[in-house]
């Protein structure tokens, strides 16, 4: 009896959460005067209806997985890295800077791309470590520090696109002058999907899973996240590990920025992060420490994002409904998690 109950407590929660989220979304669709079943069907078609659609989902999935893998590290260390958006942006700026500098240099493209990759990861990591320094030295909570740094990063990217890096003639929201094709990651014919992006995403998840479960560093990060005071008294240098967590996460965010610039847009655009930082936070919230779950849950969220684009075309609904659905999913799962904890505490 007790066994059955605890099994129910463990697996039932998320199922109820997803169920509640779907019901709430259905109610909202009814209010908007649309058939929920038809809307969900259209979203499914929008995400998986053709090879191109599937490729679009994977275009989202690559950077989303990179970002989420990074966030697993900061979550493990007990940090809310809200500054992740800014870290993607700074990574993309670093990449663009290097590419602009070296695009006319007599260097092989692979070398230029490698330097750009390193620059992107470094820039993202530096922006994240800045949030960490604000926290460890200045006592600025990383949530507020991250928010501030996000604003600065988006101001900086706008200034660059409309200022020093503007297209010859006139700066516009469409971004900087596109880079030559040789300075982009190879994509599958007719799509914006690069296998490199998928490979980098998978490699990042693998590496982070290994780091958190098997390495001494991962153990220290988790210790700091679970009880920083006890970890400190047991001899774990707390602030150094916090900075390492920020740095790793920022580097992966910068890598996502690299993918966005070199595989998806081939230039710097104002919305280069595509909101994947915040989307990644949602994914990380749902999966907690279970790194392997990044792969399917990120795919699900990517599918909702792409599938939502179909809504205005087929049903004259606003595509922001996909964002609503994602938000409801997170709230549903977290809420059922909370209920589960309360039930467990009572029994």
């Amino acid at each position: 009896m007790i066994r059955a109950r605890s099994l129910w407590l463990r697996t039932g929660g998320p199922v109820i959460g997803v169920g509640v989220a779907v019901l709430a979304a259905a109610g909202l669709l009814l209010l908007a005067g649309a058939s929920p079943l038809e809307a969900f069907r259209q979203m499914g078609l929008g995400a998986f209806g053709s090879v191109n659609r599937l490729a679009d989902v994977l275009v989202v999935w690559g950077p989303l997985v990179l970002v989420t893998a990074g966030l697993l590290v900061t979550f493990a260390a007990g940090l809310w890295n809200i500054g992740i958006e800014g870290q993607i942006v700074m990574g993309a700026i670093g990449v663009t800077g290097v590419l602009r500098l070296l695009q006319d240099a007599p260097l092989p493209p692979w070398l230029v791309l490698s330097i750009a990759l390193a620059a992107g990861m470094t820039a993202g990591a530096a922006w994240a470590v800045l949030a960490g320094l604000l926290k460890t030295i200045g006592g600025v909570n990383e949530i507020f520090g991250g928010l501030g740094l996000n604003f600065i990063a988006s101001a900086l990217i706008l200034w660059l696109i409309f200022g020093p890096w503007k297209r010859p003639g006139i700066g516009s929201m469409s971004g900087t002058e596109p880079f030559p094709e040789s300075l982009g990651l190879p994509t599958l014919a007719g799509t914006r999907l690069s296998l490199w992006s998928l490979a980098l995403g998978l490699a990042a998840v693998g590496a982070i899973a290994l780091l958190l479960s098997r390495s001494a560093l991962g153990l220290r990060l988790r210790a700091v996240g679970l009880n920083a005071r006890a970890a400190f008294l047991l001899g774990v240098p707390t602030w150094r590990n916090l900075l390492v967590a920020f740095g790793l996460c920022g580097a992966l965010a910068g890598l996502a920025g690299f993918v966005q610039v070199t595989a998806v847009y081939h230039r710097l655009i104002p919305s280069i992060s595509s909101g994947y930082g915040f989307l990644g936070l949602l994914v990380a919230l749902i999966i907690r420490y279970r790194a392997v779950w990044v792969v399917p849950v990120a795919a699900f969220f990517a599918a909702i994002t792409i599938g939502g684009i179909q809504l205005p075309i087929a049903l004259q609904l606003d595509s922001s409904l996909s964002g609503v659905l994602q938000g409801l999913l997170v709230l549903g799962v977290l809420f059922s998690d909370g209920l589960r904890h309360r039930a467990a505490a009572r029994s």
Binding site: L219, A223, N227, R229, A230, L233, L234, G235
Partner: protein, 493 residues
């Protein structure tokens, strides 16, 4: 108002905090409540003031039985409590604090409250700026404000839990004057303290609690010796130290002082040599906790020098002390000592990191298994710490200490442990001494201090006695010193 507590019972887990305590307090008296730390004074008073609900027993106020579900119930019935740590709002103003907890209007009148505060303050000779923020006030002033707030709510019974900790001598005199006056007006005062002279000079009657039970009740005339005997009982465990050949100096303190929010440590000299065990006696908040933390770099010292193994570490932080073989074992095991959601295997890898980047988990679990057998821990390598009992948590903590260590600083080594676990803990600690470590520990258990210390340092109000020889100290003299008596004669600290 007469108070009668009848057969009050309260347990927390396996700890009995209140063991069928029966106490009658006639209206208009100042009743002292004396006892060691953990004797159950605060628990009993929290029950009387509605903060805790008893497991059994009855409270009669003015002859009528009452049941308090909430502190507000108690205040309505005329019982108010001044807590050891002021339960006020530091970021609000004096007036706002004064107005808090008042039943009635959604928009209370600030003007009326200001008038009332001014009247009450004038009556008792206190001075407040109603607009001042509370965090700019001293602990003593905050206490005065809380007393006035409770009086404005018309309490007939006032409970004060260790009210003289952290206030100045002048404020203490003023507080006592106020209390005498309130009692003369017919209010009943319950005064909780561990300081013998305060209880002797202020209270009309004294009740002594020991291990949750009422050990005795006295009315003057009585002697200090009687109080001490009631408080500490007779020693149960005879001292069982083996004299240790003094080794090289491990810890040298010269004129060391430190400050926390309520206490200033008087400058102190202390030498501890390898193999030695020094016990810090004193009641909570007397300075022993601060001293222990200052020896680990966990609290910054404000004066003097700290040397570890001959090396000057004054002003260094804890990681530097740890690097020189100083470990700190805190009393709050799950809050500060261990990571509740990690298991022993993980803790061992954390404290003794593997050579390479990666952890060999099968081997780590095997190591943990060895420690579990060696330290008789009831658990498995993958049992999370919060699932272990207190005794097993303490054993786990000890299993993390690996020689060579220079100095073990440990708070309450056996608090909450049964006799068997306590013995096991001290066998382990002794083994570290044999291996050349020194131990400085604090304990609120006098028997433990007497049984295991080579020398004893008594702390009282931030002052520390010179090291005393436990062989020449009887429990009564120690008890007097802990209660702040005979300091100029016995221990010219």
């Amino acid at each position: 108002m007469d108070i009668i507590l009848k057969e009050i019972r309260k347990t927390f887990g396996r700890v009995t905090a209140s063991d069928r305590v029966t106490l009658a307090v006639p209206g208009g008296t100042i009743q002292g409540l004396l006892g060691e730390n953990g004797a159950g004074k605060s628990t009993l008073m929290k029950i009387l003031s509605g903060y805790l609900r008893p497991d059994g027993g009855e409270i009669l106020l003015g002859g009528k039985p009452v049941v308090f579900r909430h502190p507000a119930d108690a205040v309505r019935a005329g019982v108010g409590m001044l807590h050891q740590d002021p339960l006020d709002f530091p970021s609000l103003t004096v007036l706002e604090n004064f107005m808090s907890g008042r039943p009635g209007h959604f928009f209370p009148s600030r003007a009326a409250a200001r008038r009332r505060l001014r009247e009450l303050a004038a009556t008792f000779g206190f001075a407040f700026d109603p607009r001042a923020y509370l965090d700019t006030l001293t602990v003593g002033e905050r206490q005065q404000l809380e007393v006035l707030r409770l009086l404005s709510l018309d309490v007939r019974v006032l409970i004060l839990d260790e009210p003289t900790t952290g206030i100045s001598a002048a404020q203490k005199a003023q507080l006592f004057e106020t209390l005498r006056r309130l009692s003369a007006e017919g209010r009943t005062i319950l005064f909780v303290s561990h300081k013998l002279d305060e209880v002797e000079s202020l209270c009309h009657r004294v009740a002594v609690l020991r291990a949750g039970a009422l050990a005795g009740a006295l009315t003057p005339p009585y002697t200090t010796a009687e109080l001490v005997t009631l408080m500490f009982g007779r020693p149960v465990v005879p001292p069982q130290r083996q004299p240790q050949a003094p080794g090289r100096p491990v810890l040298e303190l010269r004129g060391v002082s430190a400050v926390d929010d309520r206490l200033r440590l008087a400058p102190l000299d202390l030498d501890i040599r390898a193999g030695e065990v020094v016990g810090l006696a004193g009641l909570t908040g007397s300075g022993q906790r601060l001293l222990l933390r200052a020896c680990a770099g966990l609290v910054r010292t404000t004066a003097g020098t700290v040397r570890i193994g001959g090396r000057d570490l004054t002003g260094h932080a804890f990681p530097s002390f740890r690097g020189h073989g100083v470990v700190f074992v805190p009393t709050a095991r799950l809050e500060e000592g261990l990571i509740g959601d990690m298991d022993l295997a993980e803790h061992l890898q954390l404290v003794h990191p593997p050579r390479g980047l990666f952890i060999d988990w099968p081997r780590a679990r095997a190591t943990a298994d060895e420690r579990i057998r060696e330290f008789a821990i009831r658990g498995r390598p993958d049992t999370r710490m919060r699932e272990l009992s207190g005794g097993n948590q303490q054993r786990a903590l000890l299993s993390l200490l690996a020689p060579p260590l220079a100095l073990i600083l440990i708070e309450e080594p056996t608090r909450g442990l049964d006799v068997e676990s306590a013995v096991a803990v001290w066998i382990r600690l002794r083994a570290h001494c044999q291996a050349g470590a020194a131990i400085l520990f604090l304990s609120s258990d006098l028997d433990e201090i007497r049984a295991h210390s080579d020398r004893i340092v008594v702390c009282f109000c931030g002052r520390s006695s010179p090291p005393l020889d436990p062989a020449t100290m009887d429990i009564e003299t120690l008890g007097r010193l802990i209660g702040g008596k005979g300091w100029d004669r016995e221990a010219a600290g």
